[in-house]
């Protein structure tokens, strides 16, 4: 714009401020993502930001147990790599907790009774003894190493397999897809009627839709739960079913859907609709052949909204679907994990990322439509 070209100091300040804000806004999510890729054990003892750079760790680990010893000449030798093949550079090591950094990498150190220990900087170690190694556990080795950043998918493997998150993922999809598609058709017809058909009471209906837009969802829960239970008893079925939650989400999503779509459809050129009418099209024809194809952007944007809303919903799912294993959705599952595994950040961060990955993909893929929909609803 006009001002930016002249006042360069101000524009640098703007760059800096925006950069700062962007970092502020992305750091929480980034932290979660990085944490979910770290080793469980490390998560609990160091901040996630330390995982990004090479860092010096003082670690204690055990060598291979005596059962793996081999006899070389008159010595019994245990060989292995204390870094387990990972890259890293060991600077110092030791054999007792009193002096964990006593020796430089590469030195051959005698422990006692002729036993020796040698740890190379790449982690290879040799334990040698004139007599047979005894005991069940491997010898403890203390070492100080420069470790490069290390990431693993093990948290994800764990949550997707054992902890039922995989099942919840499918449950969430089961809830979300129909609950996104069903309201669109119903809303589109209603929106067209409210935008272009003339009938008594239209203004009142539009006012009702706008009014219902702000009704707190919480109000509906008790009366609906009562109705659901009654219907369930009547037909002898459970009141917590997928069909039930699809219809509930349809009902809750309709005001926004009708409002957004009506705003869009009312903005279509009047002459196109009149022209179709002169061409002999009935309202049903006009809707099918003219309105639906032309409203695609608005339909897409509502679909994204509804998808995000249903996927991210916790309340409706908890009330109308419950938390039994074949019904529990991701958000509810995550909440339960937070309660039961408050300290297990490995599980928690990976689970959280699993729940937000789909919405994030939808968001980044279809952001254009989302923004257009937002604007249709607000800027007039």
């Amino acid at each position: 714009m006009i001002r930016s070209s002249k006042r360069s100091p101000l524009i640098y300040l703007t760059h800096a401020t925006v950069l700062f804000l962007v970092i502020l806004w992305t750091i929480p999510t980034a932290g979660l993502f990085i944490s979910s890729l770290r080793d469980k054990d490390q998560l609990a003892v160091s901040g996630w930001w330390t995982a990004l750079s090479a860092s010096t760790h003082m670690v204690v680990d055990r060598a291979e147990p005596p059962s793996s010893q081999v006899q070389e000449g008159d010595h019994f030798v245990i060989k292995g790599n204390i870094l387990h093949g990972q890259s890293g550079k060991i600077s110092k090591f030791g054999y007792s907790s009193l002096h964990p950094q006593a020796y430089k990498a590469g030195e051959v150190v005698s422990i006692r009774n002729g036993q020796t220990m040698q740890v190379m900087s790449n982690g290879d170690y040799v334990l040698s003894s004139p007599t047979k190694w005894l005991g069940r556990n491997g010898k403890r080795i203390f070492y100080t190493a420069e470790m490069p950043p290390h990431f693993t998918l093990s948290n994800y493997k764990e949550v997707l397999g054992a902890d039922g998150l995989g099942q919840s993922f499918i449950n969430s999809l089961t809830v979300t897809i129909p609950a996104t598609v069903i309201p669109i058709l119903i809303a589109a017809f209603a929106a067209y009627a409210l935008a272009w058909m003339r009938f008594p009471g239209r203004a009142i209906l539009v006012a009702c839709v706008v009014g219902l837009l702000v009704v707190p969802l919480q109000m509906s829960l008790i009366p609906l739960l009562k109705s659901y239970n009654w219907i369930g008893d009547l037909f002898g079925v459970s009141s917590k079913t997928y069909v039930g939650i699809w219809l509930a989400h349809t009902g809750f999503g309709l005001p926004l859907a009708i409002y957004l779509l009506r705003n869009y459809i009312v903005g279509l050129p009047r002459e196109i609709i009149e022209s179709a009418r002169v061409d002999g099209a009935s309202d049903f024809d006009i809707f099918r052949k003219i309105i639906l194809p032309l409203s695609f952007p608005a339909l897409a944007s509502f679909a994204i909204f509804q998808f995000l809303w249903v996927w991210n919903d916790l309340l409706v799912a908890m009330v109308f679907l419950g938390t039994s294993p074949d019904h529990i959705v991701l958000t509810a599952q995550l909440r339960q994990l937070m309660g039961s595994l408050g300290g297990d950040w490995g599980i928690l961060t990976a689970s959280a990322f699993v729940t937000i990955i789909i919405p994030l993909c939808v968001f980044f893929g279809l952001q254009r439509f989302l923004v257009r929909g937002l604007l249709a609803g607000s800027v007039k």
Binding site: E271, I272, E274, S275, A276, R277, V278, D279, K289, L294
Partner: protein
């Protein structure tokens, strides 16, 4: 094909505003009728009532002798070309033209024949597969017309079809519409515009509307030469007719009036004796005024206030004593004249107009 007849037609909106009062109009089959008038005069509303897009609040509309008040648009035997073309943006040119026939469940072969015939006529054949957005403004307009032709309607309705085109294209498309009319001499066409040049060039008869009333119906030249009232006189022709207030001095076979500039003119128009001494309006078109050398040769004089040189003609704006409005004289070619010059003007008596105190033309009253 069909006549269109409007009898006592009225339009009252739901908020009780009456926008058309008692419209009576007889349109013969094969006529090209132009509704013209200033914006807000009700010309588009009248057209939309004929099309069926607006309800008729009172009176009757007949097409081909049948009352059409409650008949849906599609069954009135009309086709309409809209100002914004109203092409369906998601359909190809072909589908746009085929739409009405598909709705009417015509056979595929029949649709194809009709569409190709219309496309041929409008030179649209190479564009049949394109979407409207890939066409130029003129081409879009032709598609809109093609869409109308395909329905082979009894009556064509045009709602300001040229106002979205630029000046050069407008002339070309105007000629195309004139050609279209020549090719379909039996179709009735009703055309709405606010542009009097379009009205003059296209119309068999012009319907001039103002404030919800018909001011005059007639051929373009009739409106030009014998305007029924001051409004018509001013609306048709550019620059518009000079109107000078006057008083009737003598009635009879010809009428003598004294202009507000105190000159006296003899006008060859019959007036009744009862009109004696009444206030009236004298009218003369700028192009009918002629610059003369002396006051005696002319009938009105004025000081040049400013001069517009258009090249092919010169417009002199004159301040005439006793007149509030400037008198404009249009002279062919270039005329050297300066502000402040005193100019004398003459005119042929048969070009003069005279309107009574209610602004109605004496010539037509007589």
């Amino acid at each position: 094909m069909a006549d269109v007849k409007l009898t006592h037609v009225k339009k009252i909106y739901s908020n009780k505003v009456e926008v058309l009062h008692d419209i009576n109009l007889d349109i013969k089959q094969g006529e090209f009728i132009v509704f013209v008038g200033p914006s807000g005069c009700g010309k588009s509303t009248l057209l939309r009532m004929i099309s069926g897009l607006e309800d008729i609040s009172g009176g009757t509309l007949e097409i081909d002798g049948k009352v059409m008040n409650d008949v849906p648009p599609a069954l009135r035997g009309i086709a309409m070309v809209f100002q914004s073309y109203a092409l369906y943006p998601h359909m190809s040119v072909y589908d746009n033209m085929a739409f009405s026939l598909q709705i009417a469940k015509a056979s595929k072969a029949d649709i194809d024949k009709q569409v190709r015939k219309a496309a041929e006529m409008l030179q649209l054949t190479p564009y049949l597969d394109r979407l409207p957005k890939a066409l130029s403004g003129g081409q879009r307009q032709r598609v809109a017309i093609g869409r109308a032709i395909v329905r082979s309607p009894q009556v064509f309705l045009f709602d300001e079809p040229l106002s979205n085109l630029d000046a050069a294209l407008r002339v070309a498309t105007r000629m195309e519409i004139a050609n279209l009319k020549d090719n379909m001499p039996d179709s009735t066409m009703i055309y709405v515009t606010h542009d009097q040049v379009e009205a003059m060039t296209l119309a068999d008869r012009i319907v001039l509307l103002s404030g919800g009333n018909i001011e005059q119906v007639g051929s373009p030249l009739e409106l030009y030469e014998h305007p029924a009232n001051v409004f018509v006189a001013r609306f048709i022709g550019s620059p518009s007719m000079n109107i000078v207030p006057c008083r009737i001095e003598k009635t009879g076979e010809s009428t003598r009036v004294s202009l507000s500039s105190s000159e006296v003119v003899e006008v060859p128009i019959v007036t009744e004796a009862s009109e004696q001494t009444k206030e009236a309006f004298f009218g003369i078109r700028p192009e009918d005024l002629r610059v003369v050398d002396s006051k005696e040769q002319g009938f009105i004089s004025g000081e040049v206030a400013f001069v517009e040189s258009l090249g092919e003609a010169t417009l002199l704006h004159l301040q005439v004593k006793g007149c509030k409005e400037m008198v404009i004289a249009k002279q062919p070619g270039t005329l050297i004249s300066q502000r402040g010059d005193l100019i004398h003007l003459a005119a042929a008596p048969d070009k003069m107009h005279l309107f009574n105190d209610k602004e109605q033309s004496y010539a037509r009253l007589g």
